[in-house]
Symmetry: C2
Subunit: 423 residues, 2 copies
């Protein structure tokens, strides 16, 4: 079981998580918990560091040494809560459990886990609580695992002890066919494949970080994403099965804040594209999708790529210079969004792209760019059409649940609002 | 160098401590820092634990696992501050530095320290920062060293690396001939012996915990107690020398909040005294001084002992019962104080007791009990005479400095106040 920062934000929430673990143990399971730092703890530590460093970057070893205290506080409090409820528990830091990583501070990779120690404590009847997000090098230096690190810990521990299932407790009910805030009849997905989840995560579905899913896929660990506020089943993330492939599209996603950089009349020489992206990487600009076409004249090429709007200004600076150096044209569009559908069924079904394009065309939504993978189709569109496009695509593939009533209610409410406004 | 909680309470104070370490290193010294948790951190952690435990006592292993995070935050921030100033630093938890203790959680004793690791980092030019108050068992469980633990760490590290001196930075200028708040012409002592410091500490002089002084005495580590707010020399605590013995009395102390329990007509049988104090210990009542006399009838004895006023109610309950069981009389006095003088010179000088008693008698202060050690004389007196008695004794042994002017000023101020009141 893993509990994220919001699920252990205060003493009451820690006790609630402890209660769930105790109940699960009493049902005859052995329970290992992985916990994050409490709510705002990390912010507080970051604030202290920046006060001391006067906004210079902190030395990474000491940064990690500082950050790991957040999870250490939670593990000991969690063990206390369980003991207070009359069950036995023991908490472990990464160092104590032998969660050995390489020495890349702030983004370390797990090398080995001493599973024997966990089994020993489980067999003695204890609930074992492990600090997420952290590791320790062979020399004993503390490390952290980077973004999504606690989920990586969860999956790594589950793999190491050969767990039946790992439960990822969050503040959402699971993975949805689309963002329910935008698509009112979006449906919770009961089962989704690792590959679909990976695609959705890179499209901004913020349930599980890609590194954790990749890890789970590699070791075939099923992940149950569920809500810590109640006991309903959430979404199981598992290996793809044939029955899954019967469903053409599993989910749709909208990534709203995108910008596009278009370099045209780029001399079509070997190494030119590499040079462009090497420059972007050197300036720490993360590139999203890339589209390249060779022009009719066959001596120049066109190269487009998208970046998150937050990185657009950086990208613009770099590309203005780059265009001068390469003697090519550059243009920008900072008002784009990307609507996508994802499904392992695409591997065996045809006509998916056509259906998607028709749905958008029927609503007169212009498609700026198209990118595809084996199990994903994405269309770049104008941001003003984004939410509408997501609902259209979601309907076209009949992803909606039976929550028609709710949709009607929303429609009614809207009607009322409009009516009021008219008054 | 050791910096206590108030000396690292915020980012600015951490930077000030770091600056001092950097400056000392630049003067050609190798520097090891021992630091406590920042100001109110420990209170905050205790509060979290009691919320989770709903005021039941926390399991001690997890309590220690929680508490050690406080110092870990400070060490990493301190290392950052030093790096920010352009010097090299590395922080170590107890686990990382091999500060191995026994497994008595919340009051562990140090067994070994891996000094080699410290020397290695010092020789490479780094300032080494070590978390105070904490240890680790051979099995890797976190421990804490109990009250005064950070000072124990300081002295233990100093002994392990054979340090020239250990500097204990606090918020006072050093050890005084008496409490300057009570005795205006009290003088800072430049040099005091371990034994004198031990006596003063048990008399309530709250500069260094006895365990740290005992450790320092055992390994002959000189301790320099000084103020972190400026660079003036403080008090050196060292082994007694002949020159020290020329001074009859080094300091005077007043322990104000005391109560006395007197058991009279106690059957004078072997094991009776042991039984009394065994009962007190079993009820966690800390006994201060003990006075026993055999009565004239030689079949009964009188037994008095003092306790801190805070423990008086507990002591009373226990002794009321005890008196019934032993069939003896019991009486109480909860309005006592103890004035004492301390000095290694008493070993070789005579007339010390007489001078003290005369000073009190001349002022018509009644002495209730007398207890002595080789280097200490204590008199129990009525609490209302306490402060006056301390000043009288301090003057009788000419302990005062040349701050006569200040005394006058205070006197004048008092006169003014009285004058105002009269108006």
């Amino acid at each position: 079981m893993k509990f994220g920062g919001t699920s252990v934000a205060d003493a009451d929430k820690i006790r609630a998580a402890a209660k769930r673990a105790v109940r699960t143990q009493k049902q005859g399971h052995q329970v290992v918990m992985v916990v994050s730092a409490m709510g705002k703890t990390t912010d507080h530590l970051e604030d202290l560091a920046s006060q001391v460093m006067r906004n210079k970057p902190a030395p990474k070893r000491e940064w990690d040494q500082l950050m790991v205290t957040g999870e250490q506080v939670t593990i000991s409090l969690m063990a206390m809560a369980i003991e207070e409820m009359g069950s036995a528990a023991i908490s472990f830091t990464a160092g104590q459990i032998g969660m050995v990583t390489d020495d890349r501070h702030t983004k370390a990779r797990i090398k080995t886990i001493a599973a024997g120690k966990i089994h020993k404590e489980l067999d003695s009847g204890k609930i074992v609580i492990i600090a997420g997000f952290q590791g320790v090098t062979e020399e004993g230096h503390m490390t952290t695992l980077g973004r999504g690190g606690s989920n990586v810990t969860l999956v790594a521990i589950a793999a190491a002890i050969n767990a039946e299932v790992c439960e990822n407790y969050t503040d959402v009910d699971g993975v949805y066919t689309a963002d329910p805030r935008v698509v009112p009849n979006a449906r919770k997905i009961n089962k989704i494949s690792y590959d679909e989840m990976l695609e959705l995560a890179s499209l901004g579905v913020n349930v599980l970080h890609n590194r954790a899913v990749e890890f789970a896929k590699k070791y075939n660990v099923p992940i149950h994403v569920r809500n810590s506020a109640h006991s309903k089943k959430g979404t199981m993330i598992v290996a793809a099965t044939e029955s899954m492939e019967r469903i053409v599209v599993s989910g749709a996603a909208l990534k709203e804040e995108l910008a596009r950089v278009s370099l045209t009349k780029v001399p079509d020489r070997p190494g030119m594209v590499a040079r462009v992206f090497h420059t972007m990487a050197r300036h720490d600009v993360m590139v999203d999708d890339i589209i390249q076409t060779v022009n009719d004249d066959k001596t120049t090429a066109s190269l487009s790529f998208t970046v998150d709007l937050a990185e657009f200004n950086d990208a613009k600076k770099v590309c203005d210079k780059l265009a001068k150096t390469l003697k090519c044209n550059v243009s920008y569009d900072d008002s784009l969004s990307k609507v996508s559908v994802v499904g392992v069924g695409m591997r065996v079904h045809t006509g998916v792209a056509e259906k998607m394009f028709s749905a958008l065309a029927d609503a007169k939504i212009n498609i700026e760019n198209i990118t595809t993978s084996e199990i994903k189709i994405s269309c770049m569109i104008d941001r003003s059409d984004g939410k509408k496009a997501l609902r259209l695509v979601h309907d076209a593939f009949e992803l909606g649940g039976k929550k028609k009533k709710k949709t009607k209610k929303v429609a009614k409410k809207k009607a009322k609002k409009t009516a009021k406004k008219k008054k």
